[in-house]
């Protein structure tokens, strides 16, 4: 500001206050610039969120639709049960290869009935329009209902992933011409069959219930095992980390004396909160799998690792909740003869419960999305069997939602990218639900003292 006084001393001020001088203009311009930069930063943050969500939704929403072929299949006894005595063991000997001819016949009749000309396709190409999963569907049906052999049954069969992709806009005639797995003629036939009502897109329930499928049949891949595995792990995390976290917080907040030992625990907890998640995966692999000998890929190991990871979050939230309960409550309880323990467990803890639960839910939400440690403990394995019900099922191999996403992105077929984005949407819906519950809980029970 010194140059203002010196300039006014040398030359009398000619401008009025209403007219900005050069320096004021410069300062105001710099103010406006700074403000604009800030606005841009906020815009970048918001745009990043919008871009992220749009990209995931644009890629993933189509996975909630799936193309099915509605065909009548004649369950030919000559092929399925040559002896004719409906002996289940003999029927079970017919592998899925034995069911492929049935599908061929079914497709030929269906196209003839719909008046669609499929003469451009070889019979092999015609069968290839249906998913490789379809023979297994038929076989499972026959094994469950052997009395239906010889009858004609209407099935909704999965259509090949490329044709499904064509209806969703992912595959085009041009790309099909270069693709070994599909030809433009097949797509043309699919178009005609769709117009005739044989093929149709419906809501993809199987996406939520079916297990994972192999590389060549993305259309059959579902999240069933992954969702179940994630639920199991969340159960373990909830059952272990909530009591442990609350107990540890009560000790640290209410009983711990001020000494070096307490300091050590506190430093430990705050450092654990900052340890990279992958290091917890190494811990799980080295201790829980190699030393303790728990099975790989099992929800129990994942649950234990995630418990250790969420513990700091829960402890921090619980301590804050305990701290916010006013001392008058404690004093009143102590005054009528309660012990310290009774005052805390009977009076302070119930009042702190909403805050603790909110923290627990947020910790669970974090654990649900955690991927890296689960990769190390073998949750990437290809699992097609549903784990059994708890508690034995906790030791069966399973997948987890975020790991399933990673798994699918490592596959060659672009149809799996769509599935992965769809799985992300499912994961995000779970997270939104959990966070909403946490917010509602906080709103409902929040108390100002």
């Amino acid at each position: 500001m010194s140059d203002i006084t010196s300039s006014s001393a040398s030359a009398p001020r000619r401008s009025s206050l209403l007219v900005q001088d050069e320096r004021t203009k410069r300062r105001n311009a710099s103010e406006a610039r700074f403000r604009f930069v800030g606005l841009i930063a906020v815009a970048i943050g918001v745009l990043a969120l919008v871009g992220l969500l749009t990209s995931i939704l644009a890629n993933g929403l189509s996975s909630f639709q799936q193309t099915y072929a509605e065909v009548e299949v004649y369950l030919d006894p000559a092929k399925l049960d040559k002896s004719g005595d409906r002996n289940l063991e003999k029927i079970a000997k017919v592998s899925t290869f034995g069911y492929a001819p049935l599908i061929q016949v079914a497709m030929e009749t269906a196209s003839a009935k719909a008046g669609v000309d499929v003469s451009a396709l070889s019979s092999k190409d015609l069968v290839a329009m249906i998913s490789k999963e379809a023979p297994a569907t038929l076989r499972n049906y026959v094994l469950a209902n052997p009395e239906m052999i010889g009858e004609t049954v209407t099935f909704s069969l999965l259509v090949n992933g490329r044709i499904d992709g064509y209806f969703k806009g992912r595959v085009t005639m041009a790309s099909a011409a270069l693709d070994r797995n599909i030809s433009p003629e097949q797509l043309q036939a699919a178009d005609d069959l769709r117009a005739a009502g044989v093929l149709d897109k419906t809501f993809n329930w199987a996406f939520f219930t079916a297990p994972d499928a192999s590389d060549t049949r993305p259309e059959a891949a579902g999240l069933g095992v992954a969702i179940l595995g994630s639920i199991y792990m969340m159960l373990i995390v909830l059952c272990l980390s909530l009591p442990l976290g609350v107990a540890a917080s009560i000790y640290l907040e209410e009983f711990a004396p001020q000494n070096r030992f307490t300091d050590l625990i506190e430093v430990n907890i705050s450092n654990l909160a900052a340890v990279p998640s992958i290091v917890f995966g190494i811990l799980g692999l080295a201790i829980f799998i190699n030393v303790v000998g728990l099975p790989q890929s099992a929800p129990i190991v994942g649950g234990l690792v995630l418990t250790l990871m969420t513990l700091p979050t829960i402890i921090i939230a619980t301590r804050a909740a305990l701290k916010s309960v006013p001392p008058s409550i404690r004093d009143a309880a102590l005054g009528v003869g309660a012990s310290k323990m009774q005052a805390i467990f009977h009076h302070v803890l119930p009042l702190a419960m909403p805050g603790i639960l909110t923290g627990a839910i947020i910790g669970l939400a974090q654990a649900l999305g955690e991927t890296a440690p689960l990769l190390l403990i073998g949750m990437v394995a290809f699992v097609r069997e549903y784990p059994a019900g708890p508690p034995e099922g906790l030791f069966d191999p399973a997948a987890a939602l975020p790991v399933q996403v990673y798994n699918w992105t490592q596959r060659g077929d672009p149809a799996f990218v769509e599935r992965a984005s769809g799985a992300i949407i499912v994961l995000l819906v779970f997270l939104i639900l959990m966070n909403t519950v946490a917010i509602l809980l906080r709103r409902k029970f929040e108390r100002r003292w």
């Binding site: 943050g45 107990a247 625990i265 999305g369 991927t371 890296a372």
Partner: protein, 323 residues
């Protein structure tokens, strides 16, 4: 089985009955027991740290028995072979890690800091009530989502519109892809930390500056930021430690080729990526190729822990300054 249970119950019932006297302080006994449970629960944190450090150290020592430590720390070649004779130098991995983290911080720190400043000092109520939660949502999104974003959107975009036309590279996974996306992930982290720090600067300092005729931006640049600098440095260190330990974004966005290079459009790899790739699949615990992951993990643990300890120390010092 049930007979044993019943016998135990009867036995303990009798024992308890005999112990009841007017002098018995049963409440104290049971509360001592509960207290020991509480202490046990809080020991889990220590046990976890011991478990982490113990398992990392133990396997790392095993690794150094099979592979010379000098080569691990100073070799510039990373080339694991399944049949043995691998080169396991950490330098290319550390370089990739630092490069990606640096780019991420270059994105996240200015943006996050400006967001915090704008929302704290300039934004109207309407914008704040909308922008603040939106940016907090970014913090709650799991990293796998960012990884997928890098893989299917940012990577191909950078390759098709920037790298390929300029002839800088043809790979969709690159240092820049991972750095950009990780930067986005860190924005809410930096902005919420900076927000706390800016709010901790006493109002009197602002008022003094305004009283001297400074504009808002001059006050921020010349009074608030210098005063908040130690805290901001702490926040940047915390963000750096996050970036270095981040796994999924680099696994899906940065690539797997261990390289020492400067071109940000090239795929490079990081410490975390190699931990994942060495430990997934068949893990045979006798080979240096698997055990190297523990040495990498220990390095990662030491670096992030060091950064955190320094950062927390700086932030605490800064808080004390104004209390």
């Amino acid at each position: 089985m049930s007979g044993v249970t019943l016998a135990m119950a009867v036995l303990l019932f009798v024992v308890t009955l005999l112990r009841i006297t007017p002098d018995l302080r049963a409440r104290n006994t049971s509360e001592t027991f509960v207290l020991s449970l509480l202490i046990g629960a809080s020991l889990v944190a220590i046990l976890t740290t011991v478990g982490i450090v113990g398992s990392l150290l133990f396997e790392t020592l095993n690794f150094f028995k099979m592979y010379p430590a000098k080569d691990f720390f100073f070799s510039t070649v990373w080339n694991p072979q399944f049949r043995g004779g691998s080169d396991l130098g950490i330098l290319p991995l550390l370089w990739g890690t630092l490069y990606v983290s640096l780019l991420a911080l270059l994105v996240a720190v200015p943006t996050g800091l400006m967001i915090a400043i704008y929302l704290a000092e300039y934004a109207g109520k309407g914008l704040r009530s909308f922008a603040k939660p939106a940016i907090e949502v970014l913090a709650g999104i799991p990293t796998i989502v960012y990884g997928l974003f890098a893989l299917i959107t940012v990577g191909p975009f950078l390759r098709d519109y920037i790298a390929s036309p300029l002839g800088l590279g043809s790979s969709s996974s690159s240092v820049l892809t991972a750095g950009l996306v990780m930067g986005i992930m860190l924005i809410p982290f930096v902005s919420s930390l900076s927000d706390d720090i800016i709010n901790a600067v006493p109002q009197a300092m602002r008022d003094g500056s305004y009283g001297l005729g400074a504009t808002k931006s001059e006050t921020i640049k010349q009074v608030i930021l210098p005063a908040a600098l130690p805290g901001v440095v702490g926040a940047v260190l915390l963000a750096a430690s996050r970036a270095i330990g981040e796994t999924m974004i680099v696994v899906m966005g940065a690539g797997a080729a261990a390289k020492l290079g400067l071109n940000p459009f090239e795929a490079m790899t990081t410490v975390t990526v190699k931990i994942v790739s060495q430990l997934t699949g068949d893990t045979e615990f006798a080979s240096p190729e698997t055990l190297v992951a523990f040495a990498l993990g220990l390095t990662l643990f030491v670096i992030t822990l060091g950064l955190n300890v320094i950062a927390l120390h700086v932030v605490r010092k800064y808080r004390e300054q104004y209390e």
